[in-house]
């Protein structure tokens, strides 16, 4: 028998923690074990999953994006304000935002800037733009978007279909295409990619653009679910997306990421919150419990992981 490879293990662990958590939720709240139940549990995880993919792309080239939350909020504001009445304007703004992301990636590479600081600065910029576009919460979701987000496909709820789709597309992009290989190559050893004659500058630009694109999808999906937007709507996504990537088996440096894992990580995080509210804790400790559950889920991952490492040795 061949031992499972590192990448399979990387995927197996998050999947196992999701399954355990799901079983616990079903046990406490059997009502969740239904079409509507699953949809309610997971539909808000869809935008988080998209944001997590965006973060994962950035992490795969050894950078970190502290502005994802602000940027998703910005995309949501643009969608809610312009998409219903002036779709062309909305698309133009969003396209410009993707271009801005690509430019950021290239500047970060060209000037050898720390991505954390640049994106920290950018989070203020996106936040400011959102406040200007939408000073008070409001806007509305375009009807088609709302229709997509609340649609009820047969047998499998929309939330699950969407998650599968995101995982599939991201997996293709990151793990199967040449671009994905080069992108992860830059994370693993940028110098050797450059020595093989590739332009790291363009690879980074394209990676950031792809991340911007997924973040925009996240904002759009969020508006579809929430029906409106505000400037602070997704600020939490910055940390959630980082946690999701790590939970999904990704690593901060070295280009080791897993798109399917990232989606599972996002679902796990969403589920962890629900699990807690089903427990009915004292209000004083509800916030703390969210920390505790993160610790437990990650601790679980690493306990399993250690066994995985032992198996790996000859």
């Amino acid at each position: 028998m061949k031992a499972p490879s590192a990448s399979t293990l990387r995927l197996l662990l998050p999947a196992a923690s999701l399954a355990i958590l799901l079983a616990a939720v079903f046990y406490i709240q059997p009502r969740a074990m239904s079409y509507t139940g699953l949809n309610l549990l997971f539909n808000l995880a869809v935008p988080i999953a998209l944001a997590t993919i965006a973060q994962m792309l950035i992490i795969s080239v050894n950078d970190l994006d502290l502005s994802i939350g602000a940027f998703v909020s910005f995309a949501a504001c643009v969608t809610a304000v312009y998409m219903p009445s002036a779709p062309v304007t909305a698309i133009a703004i969003l396209a410009a935002a993707v271009a801005a992301y690509a430019a950021l990636g290239m500047i970060i590479h060209m000037r050898d800037l720390p991505s954390i600081v640049v994106t920290l600065g950018m989070s203020f910029v996106w936040g400011g733009l959102s406040v200007i576009i939408l000073p008070a919460p409001g806007g509305e979701a375009p009807t088609w978007l709302r229709a997509v987000m609340v649609s009820k496909p047969p047998f499998v709820p929309m939330a699950i279909v969407a998650s599968l789709l995101i995982a599939f597309v991201a997996h293709l992009l990151v793990m199967r295409t040449t671009f994905g290989v080069l992108m992860r190559g830059v994370g693993g050893n940028a110098r050797s990619v450059a020595r093989a004659g590739w332009s790291v500058l363009w690879i980074k630009g394209a990676t950031y653009a792809a991340a911007g694109f997924f973040a925009i999808l996240s904002g759009i999906a969020l508006v579809g679910l929430a029906t409106s937007a505000d400037a602070n709507i997704a600020l939490r996504y910055t940390l959630l997306s980082i946690a999701g990537v790590i939970l999904g088996g990704g690593e901060f440096v070295g280009g080791r990421v897993s798109p399917v894992g990232a989606v599972i990580g996002a679902l796990t995080l969403a589920l962890a919150g629900s699990f807690l509210s089903f427990l009915r804790l004292s209000p004083d400790w509800q916030i703390g419990a969210q920390g505790a559950i993160l610790i437990i889920v990650l601790g679980l991952r690493l306990v399993l992981n250690r066994r995985g490492q032992e198996e790996k040795q000859p």
């Binding site: 808000l44 000073p135 679910l225 929430a226 505000d230 629900s274 509210s277 089903f278």
Partner: protein, 313 residues
């Protein structure tokens, strides 16, 4: 008859004294109601971070858990609409208060935040008929309440044009943030006649003025005990005059009773208004006495109070 019904409180933030007082009031009043058999359960839930998305997920969980009514203090007036609509569709009564929601199927116990802002300027116009420069301390940018109060203040300034807003900072409804922001802008401001605020920031402003050794203007307070104490000290020392206004954290208990009444089959208007809690020069001492040390001036509601509000009295 609602003895079999379960009510949940969905709260988006617990990180300040006002919210803590709100949760305490809820706990106190609902515990008794549950004991008396008025309702079967009244649980409260708070999200870890002040985010609409997290609260939407929380409301969806409440739907799954089968609550009959959800009382919500919303992070955003609109961003929860999707989740609230789902709750309504599942036959759940949704009552929003303080942070109200625009979804038509929900009830709203609103505070007229605009009026709260406007009334500050009106008060000042009586106290300082000649007018002067105002410093405006706002709340958290991009949040509905901040926008409303600020709009009210600007309306007030339009109404009483002897006042002019000389500077405006965001204090995020926190004493230390307000203090920091005011201290930063103060050196470059002309003489300030009064400070208009949103609550939770008056004491910080006072400290900043004191530290800069500037004459203390009339600072409108926000019902926090430290603000009232400071005011009392100034009043005793030099006859300092101001007013204090905020919404009572106990409004959560009003929302509870309203939800109970709706569940009981009473016909309740979708839009209810509660007055804000205002403290003036003459009732300062009385209010200070009844305010918990380090807390917020509060008023809890009984079933009768709620019935009176519903009746539109």
């Amino acid at each position: 008859e609602t003895s079999g019904k379960k009510i949940a409180l969905s709260n988006n933030y617990a990180g300040n004294s006002w919210r803590q007082a709100m949760l305490t009031s809820w706990d106190k009043v609902t515990k008794e109601a549950v004991k008396a058999g008025v309702v079967a359960a009244a649980d409260s839930f708070t999200t870890a971070e002040n985010q609409a998305t997290e609260q939407a997920a929380q409301i969806q969980n409440m739907i799954l858990e089968g609550y009959d009514a959800i009382v919500v203090n919303a992070a955003s007036p609109t961003a929860l609409n999707g989740a609230i609509k789902e709750a309504c569709d599942a036959g759940i009564v949704v009552v929003s208060f303080d942070g109200i929601v625009t979804e038509p199927c929900a009830w709203r116990i609103a505070v007229d935040f605009k009026e709260m802002g406007r009334s500050q300027v009106e008060y000042l116009s009586k106290k300082i008929p000649n007018g002067g420069n105002l410093l405006e301390i706002r709340g958290l940018a991009g949040v509905f309440v901040d926008d409303e109060i600020s709009a009210g203040i600007h309306e007030g300034v339009k109404q009483f044009p002897q006042f002019k807003i000389a500077g405006s900072v965001h204090g995020d409804w926190a004493q230390d943030v307000a203090q920091r922001a005011v201290a930063g802008i103060l050196p470059s401001l002309p003489e300030i006649a009064a400070v208009v605020t949103q609550g939770g920031d008056g004491y910080g402003a006072a400290q900043a003025f004191e530290a800069a050794k500037r004459p203390i203007p009339t600072i409108v307070m926000g019902n926090r005990e430290d603000e009232l104490l400071w005011w009392k000290k100034q009043k005793d020392a030099s006859g300092y005059e101001t007013m204090s206004v905020s919404i009572a954290p106990g409004v959560s208990t009003l929302a509870f009773w309203v939800a109970q009444q709706i569940l009981d089959g009473k016909d309740v208007k979708k839009d209810l208004v509660v007055p804000f809690l205002r403290i003036d020069q003459d009732n300062l001492e009385k209010n200070l006495e009844s305010t918990e040390k380090g807390g917020v001036a509060n008023a809890e509601y009984s079933l009768e109070d709620a019935q009176a509000v519903i009746a539109g009295k």
